[in-house]
Chain length 290, copies 2
Amino acid sequence: MQQFSTPAEIRAWTREQRKAGKTVGFVPTMGALHDGHRSLIAAACAECDEVVVSIFVNPTQFDNPEDLENYPNMLADDLGICTAAGVGAVFTPDRDKMYPNGYATFVDVVGNLTDKLCAVARPGHFRGVATVVTKLFNAVVPDVAFFGQKDLQQALVISRMVSDLDMGVEVRVCPTVREPDGLAMSSRNRRLSEEGREKALALPRGLEMANQAYAAGERDSNKLIEILAMELLVHTGVDLDYAQVVSLTGFEEVDEVKDSCVLAAAAFVDEVRLIDHIHLGGPALPVSLD
Amino acid sequence: MQQFSTPAEIRAWTREQRKAGKTVGFVPTMGALHDGHRSLIAAACAECDEVVVSIFVNPTQFDNPEDLENYPNMLADDLGICTAAGVGAVFTPDRDKMYPNGYATFVDVVGNLTDKLCAVARPGHFRGVATVVTKLFNAVVPDVAFFGQKDLQQALVISRMVSDLDMGVEVRVCPTVREPDGLAMSSRNRRLSEEGREKALALPRGLEMANQAYAAGERDSNKLIEILAMELLVHTGVDLDYAQVVSLTGFEEVDEVKDSCVLAAAAFVDEVRLIDHIHLGGPALPVSLD
């Protein structure tokens, strides 16, 4: 496995692969790799001839400096995981070179995709994500890129951006990977105390309770949200940031579940922000927003 | 010469050229080609093995709907000019496909480069330029792209964007081409009346008068601007939009000309907006903004 730290190096590597007739898959990450990342790398290896993983904790997508500072850093472990998974090249750019003095360019996805859910509590977050993914795509020049469905809003923002800017990259959104007890895998889970780890289960549990109510015929968004909120706030004392039912055609809040919707939520446990969602009705993800 | 209208087609064409070991130069235009464009195409042909010209009147960079509506459209002539100049492929995308329903992604260069000069009178203009150039670069995937120095602020915005977003494209800024009487070539010149065409000469004439004052030792920005403004407003009755002296290291307005500066101006003649500038001291363009 090769490791590169500049756009010119990784771009030259990709160009070599393409010259040899190979396709290149790409898994952008912020490191602290877990089984969710492993599943993305496996999907990339299954579909593409060569796979690139980037490891870069992107400062411009952190609205909170403490969250940035506390973000896990375990590069040696990450490189081991990539090698074992059959990754061809790892891209580990320097923060100073990604955002040098005088840096001034940002990519914004505006409208419905970025006016709700995580965008509200994290101003500038999706601008940071769209900008760094643009930079990473320009450096790696992949054929296909792989994102986790846990970060659903991110995946939709990136899909929109790739389509709007004619990036010529196929975006794959892969299923959320969960711990055996149901908690969605996230690098931030490492920061939970033992007690917090237990409390955090209220999020998938509350979502599953709402899912069962949906299966039993409940279509009222507020009722579904209430079931989730009861489990989080009332029974477990977990701070809910948001819980909303959003249609996947147009990404609007809806009062009643029709077609393809998600119930999405974010909650704070031990000051760690966790997100998760369930899909309610209609065709399964990935969906087209057009 | 081949003509393509979708990103997938032109991207495939470029990939073929690259596979054959050829470099690809790119000249993005809004059509109504003149000798300024010809000089960019010639520079591209001299440096690169194959040349792509795009012809697309980009609606998102027009702040004024009338200006968009009145922008000259002469595609048949343009294609003839490209063929004669040895262009390998022309990219003529459809407006509806460039900005379909639900389009939501924009590229912004923020800060000093876009808070003055043309950015003031044309809100959203440079966002439109940065966005369409990103889309065109993603479709054409050139090695080198060529821009005219007449649109200096645009060239600097694009250079900054290409560097910030790691686009891997070399940007060349080529000298302004002028009519024999000194008027900077522009597709908008076609919209001038005979009388307006005569009046428009006040812009290069006033700039040249300021240039002579500079050569004679004048370093006070306000004095140089006054010389230009006198020629335009007082002697010729031409409406000045702005006249400013800007340092090319940092793109700040300066009171005194030191190092590398430009005196840049925009003026309305027959409701047609014309821009021009002269370089004052220091190293010649192109300059690095880092």
